[in-house]
Symmetry: C2
Subunit: 346 residues, 2 copies
């Protein structure tokens, strides 16, 4: 991609461990929904597909795991200083929700182009919202942290966030010791890093593969080239998967991806919408576009996956449905679109 540029090479980094993830599991007990693995016999074989609906979490996405884990791990003094985060999406609501659980003050920096209902949802959870131009988000977070002493809760580039998201992988590994392949959407890489760490620790033979939209394939390009590349926002914002528009994986996630992840594959926006239709109609799960990416890879990008092809048995695949915060309008349109019925009439 012309938009790609390398940023830095290998850095020595302390990777998150299984012990960190176990600690997170303790903190998250009673807070997160231990989501089930839902069998999908309707999904064409070979092998079998199970999906893990993180869409059932209280804020509609896995993000509550990492945000809550980091905030729970702060000292009371740190929490008393207040928290700041930057997000227009699920991370905003995750930080707001977790902060409220600890009676901590949260300020969320949201780009002024965000949908009003997302601003309202974050405010409804008790957070203060600061609207800034898109390009000034990072500056605003730094300024708020400096001025008020707020602790920054980043969306993915932090060990406590990765450990929290890793509890998704720990649940998969515990429930299915026979898992062969785990498919995970990748944006900043926190979820993929945590899941890969947990799954590989329990079952070194299992493969863990990230899934990204073709239109925001910075992580796939990084994986191919061996260098963490950054795409332009004008490129990544083309995809319908609004949760996967991050322009590069994080520095710490990148180290985990290099250590534990087997591949990163891509899907088209059309495949994502078809997977949303299939999940709603066949599995009764509402997925947002980002949330359906891993299922789209199973259904439509099998040729890119390990052990794929008619001569092989793909074994047991788990696809993480990372969230379900889609607008009713978009979901309604996809459900009514006749082009998606052929997959789901069997």
């Amino acid at each position: 991609m012309a938009a790609a540029s390398p940023v830095g090479g290998s850095t020595a980094a302390d990777l998150v461990t299984l012990a960190d993830i176990r600690d997170a599991q303790q903190r998250l007990t009673g807070v997160v929904v231990p989501t089930p693995l839902v069998p999908c016999p309707w999904a064409p074989g070979p092998g079998s597909l199970l999906v893990k609906p993180e869409s059932l979490q209280v804020i509609g996405a896995f993000k509550i795991r990492g945000a809550y884990n980091m905030i729970a791990g702060l000292s009371p003094e740190e929490r008393a200083r207040g928290l700041v985060a930057s997000s227009s999406g699920n991370h905003a609501q995750a930080v707001a929700y977790a902060a409220r659980e600890f009676a901590a003050h949260a300020t969320i920096v949201i780009p002024d182009v965000a949908a009003p209902h997302k601003v309202a949802a974050t405010k409804a959870l008790g957070a203060d919202v600061v609207l800034v131009p898109q390009a000034e988000r990072d500056v605003a977070v730094t300024r708020l942290a400096a001025e008020h002493g707020y602790v920054h809760v980043p969306p993915y580039d932090h060990a406590a966030i990765i450990a929290g998201q890793g509890t998704v992988g720990a649940e998969i590994a515990a429930a299915r010791p026979d898992v062969d392949l785990v498919l995970v959407p990748v944006s900043g890489g926190g979820l993929l890093s945590g899941v890969a760490t947990a799954v590989k620790a329990a079952h070194p033979g299992a493969r863990v593969v990230g899934v990204e939209p073709e239109l925001a394939a910075d992580a796939a390009e990084s994986f191919r080239s061996g260098r963490r590349v950054v795409w332009e926002p004008s490129a990544t914002r083309r995809t319908i998967a609004d949760g996967l528009r991050t322009t590069s994986v994080g520095v710490l996630p990148w180290e985990h991806i290099r250590a534990y992840v087997d591949d990163i594959v891509t899907v088209t926006d059309e495949q994502i919408m078809a997977a949303m239709h299939a999940l709603a109609v066949q599995a009764n799960i509402v997925a947002e576009p980002s949330g359906a990416a891993a299922v789209a890879a199973y259904l439509f990008a099998r040729d890119q996956l390990p052990d794929a092809g008619p001569a092989n048995d793909a074994g047991t695949t788990v696809a993480v449905v990372s969230g379900g915060n889609v607008s009713p309008e978009l979901l309604s349109q996809i459900l009514a679109d006749p082009q998606y019925t052929s997959l789901t009439s069997g």
Copy 2:
């Protein structure tokens, strides 16, 4: 109701026990999804709502629990004779699926007015389908059982079915010892009977309440009158909740309802559709109309519920979402309907 008529009074019946339900749990391990309790902080208080999405089961509804439990409890010789069931809905697919798991032959009697995709779905699970006029369903089942020696797997009026559905209640009781109120859709009464048996055994102080459409309120009328009444099919078929059109509760369920159930309340079809919208948008759960009835009661019929009212704390309520097999067309319409947005914009 002019359509009501009493049928029989009290009969001595052996009620299903907690031990029966524990046996069913053993049989169903690894077969059913142990569905989580999903918190719904978006639902207006007082108290808190958790929903149990049985829509995530492999055939999209709780019915797999009872059908599988009964078929698993048959002798190999009985299973070798073959199975017969009558249903145009979720029970058909449950019996077909469970029979296939045991390599048993299943014949499903389906009314010839059923939607072709339901017939196709049942055939896709390997069952033979016999289409008959609506009024001849029972006769056809009896004839097939007599001619071929098939074992009849009824939808609700059997101890093994009730015990299987009761595993829903056992899961609720184990997960939430603090549960105050459990809301369950009622049609033939198998699910309500099993859930009430399990919940009352574990937590005698918890209330268990059935929920029925106003347009098919035979069970509510039975509960009020103390006699099991039957409505006309021409009356019950008016409701959009196609899984709750049964014209009376079963004989054995009726005994459980009298023993364990605290009340049966009613909701309108409009309330059911509003609950479907809320579940999809706020909880990312696809519910069919029947499946949304209990949530509709929590949201819109609080005045009918125990401990309701602004001066009281309704405590912890669990509502069972019994299934999610709704047509994409209806779900799409409900999602796009502007009259349902007010509840869900908070």
